[in-house]
């Protein structure tokens, strides 16, 4: 369980806090999406949950951030990373450059922690099978596509057996195929009992995969709920987050009187098909 209670954070020498009054709970084994406009504090929040703030960044952290009851601010970085894995935006920069096969790259974290060789090899094979990247193990990490590199970055975290994975815009530098590849493993992670917190802009994919969505606006959690509840909320546009194609189309249809105001706004293809296909709300 990840729990943040009234967390605030100010970067060193910054005139204003990057986060304030952030409270949230993430149940174990769930997928939680966090959306927010650029500059809303997504990366800062990701680093708080991953234990990099304040250990690496410095600054002033108030409130408490705990994972499984352990206060992250009281853990060393090495202890924190054994509890929470972090996947960042740029897949290329996550490749250590210290290993010339994907197998070695995935094992790199285990090597740092002094894991015995046999245990390491078994761990790499296990996590590669889980993410269906066994065929990549003997290739160079630099010969992979962006999506494949992100899968290797995810595998490099999972092999450390971290129960929580924080993903900070993991598809922002990927093409559509790479994006689908990364999202395709989210359900696998959930089945494996990994708690995932994913910071993303791709609302439709979050709707399809996340159990719960949080909206980060004005440096705090402004809204929380199921993807359907959150993505249909009229305030999203005001927070610079936008809406799914289905919601936008339904709003347009509502403005033109094609569907009634009482019809819930669709946030997915199926919901949109139900609304438009039946002419719900008295299409004229």
């Amino acid at each position: 369980m990840i729990r943040l209670d009234d967390v605030g954070y100010t970067y060193p020498d910054a005139p204003a806090p990057a986060l304030q009054h952030v409270s949230l709970e993430v149940p174990p084994g769930s997928i939680t999406g966090v959306v927010g406009a650029s500059g809303a504090g997504k990366t800062t929040l990701a680093k708080v949950i991953a234990g990099f703030i304040p250990q690496v960044e410095g600054g002033e952290l108030t409130g408490s951030a705990t994972v499984d009851g352990r206060n992250l601010a009281e853990l060393s970085l090495v202890e924190a990373v054994s509890k929470v894995g972090l996947v960042i935006q740029n897949p290329f920069n996550q490749i250590s450059g210290a290993r010339y096969t994907v197998r070695g790259e995935i094992a790199f974290g285990l090597e740092n922690l002094g894991t015995p060789r046999a245990e390491m090899a078994a761990g790499v094979d296990e996590v590669a099978a889980l993410l269906r990247i066994t065929d990549l193990l003997d290739r160079s990490p630099y010969a992979l596509s962006g999506g494949q590199m992100q899968l290797v970055a995810i595998a490099s975290m999972l092999v450390l057996r971290t129960p929580v994975l924080v993903m900070d815009e993991p598809t922002s530098q990927l093409d559509p195929a790479g994006t689908r590849l990364v999202f395709s493993v989210l359900d696998t992670l959930e089945e494996a009992g990994v708690t995932v917190v994913i910071f993303e802009h791709k609302l439709e994919l979050l709707q399809a995969h996340a159990d719960r969505l949080l909206v980060l606006a004005d440096r705090t959690i402004a809204l929380a709920g199921t993807p359907t509840e959150v993505l249909a909320d009229e305030r999203l546009s005001g927070w610079g987050i936008g809406a799914t194609r289905y919601t936008r189309a339904a709003r347009l249809a509502r403005e033109r009187g094609l569907i009634g105001a009482e019809v819930p706004l669709p946030v997915s293809f199926d919901q949109a098909a139900a609304v438009f296909g039946t002419g719900a709300g008295g299409a004229r």
């Binding site: 991953a50 990099f52 690496v56 970085l77 090495v78 990373v81 054994s82 894995g85 972090l86 960042i88 935006q89 740029n90 290329f92 920069n93 996550q94 490749i95 250590s96 450059g97 210290a98 290993r99 010339y100 197998r103 070695g104 094992a107 790199f108 974290g109 285990l110 090597e111 740092n112 922690l113 002094g114 894991t115 015995p116 060789r117 390491m120 090899a121 790499v124 160079s140 630099y142 010969a143 970055a153 490099s156 975290m157 450390l160």
Partner: protein, 259 residues
């Protein structure tokens, strides 16, 4: 895109323990700088570097990369030292205050031969040693993993730097930047690109550092390796013999001037 100049080959040079190669490189450099005669550098080049390059199968890459680095350096060296050497007596050609002298050319040859050895032996190490293997070997030899990573990652700087510079240049050309053929004017045009290049590299370093820390790089546990570092008794002996020979050369030259 690869981030290293490493060329994978099934050669004996590639299979050597990276620490052995690093010790050999340092000893070669010490020897050629300790002995001021050009023939010492020539001997090292012919007896050590050329055979190693042939055995490694990286001769072509070594000639190409070494040539790109050395050609401008050697041209400048020969022009400056050959024409302006202060102790020059035997004038071969004169143009105004400039005189091309035998002594100047000999001095340029001595310095140039050292630079050739220094550059070619370093490039050969980079071509035949994967940074990861170097890091594992240095860590196993007792060096701090952080320091070992710094050394191994410097081998990756040039390709990363070049890739980022290419993309910045392309972006600027797309916005109308004309890059002249004249090298001097070209340098003037490219200078303003240094700021985004360096800033971009800082961002990369910060991100890479975060990714490394997330994988327990700061751990104080004794590191292990997935694949064992190759080594042999002969190499262990060689790692003591080579510095001893280099030290002997220094003592003979500096102490008694015998070489």
């Amino acid at each position: 895109m690869s981030s290293t100049l490493y060329v994978e080959r099934p050669s004996a040079v590639h299979r050597l323990n990276p620490v052995t190669k690093l010790v050999a490189l340092l000893c070669v450099i010490v020897v050629v700088f300790a002995i001021p005669q050009w023939w010492a550098s020539g001997a090292v080049l012919l007896l050590v570097i050329v055979p190693a390059a042939v055995i490694s199968g990286c001769g072509g890459a070594l000639a190409r990369i070494g040539g790109q680095i050395l050609l401008p350096l050697l041209v400048v060296l020969v022009l400056v030292q050959g024409l302006t050497f202060p102790g020059g007596q035997t004038v071969l050609w004169r143009w105004g205050p400039l005189a091309l002298t035998t002594e100047g050319l000999m001095f340029a040859a001595t310095i140039g031969a050292r630079i050739v050895v220094l550059v070619l032996s370093s490039v050969l190490l980079v071509l035949t040693t994967h940074p990861g293997d170097l890091m594992s070997a240095l860590t196993e030899a007792g060096m701090s993993p952080r320091f070992a990573y710094i050394i191994s990652s410097t081998l990756q700087l040039i390709p990363s730097f070049r890739a980022r510079a290419d993309s910045i240049l392309l972006a600027q050309q797309a916005r109308g930047l004309a890059v002249p053929r004249n090298p001097v004017r070209r340098l003037g045009v490219l200078m303003p690109l240094l700021a985004p290049l360096v800033l971009g590299m800082f961002t990369d370093v910060e991100e890479r550092s975060t990714a490394m820390e997330a994988r327990g790089f700061g751990s104080t546990a004794k590191r292990t390796t997935l694949t064992p570092v190759r080594d042999s008794r002969a190499q262990k002996v060689a790692r003591w013999v080579m510095p001893a020979v280099a030290l002997l050369a220094v003592v003979l030259q500096v102490g008694w001037g015998l070489l």
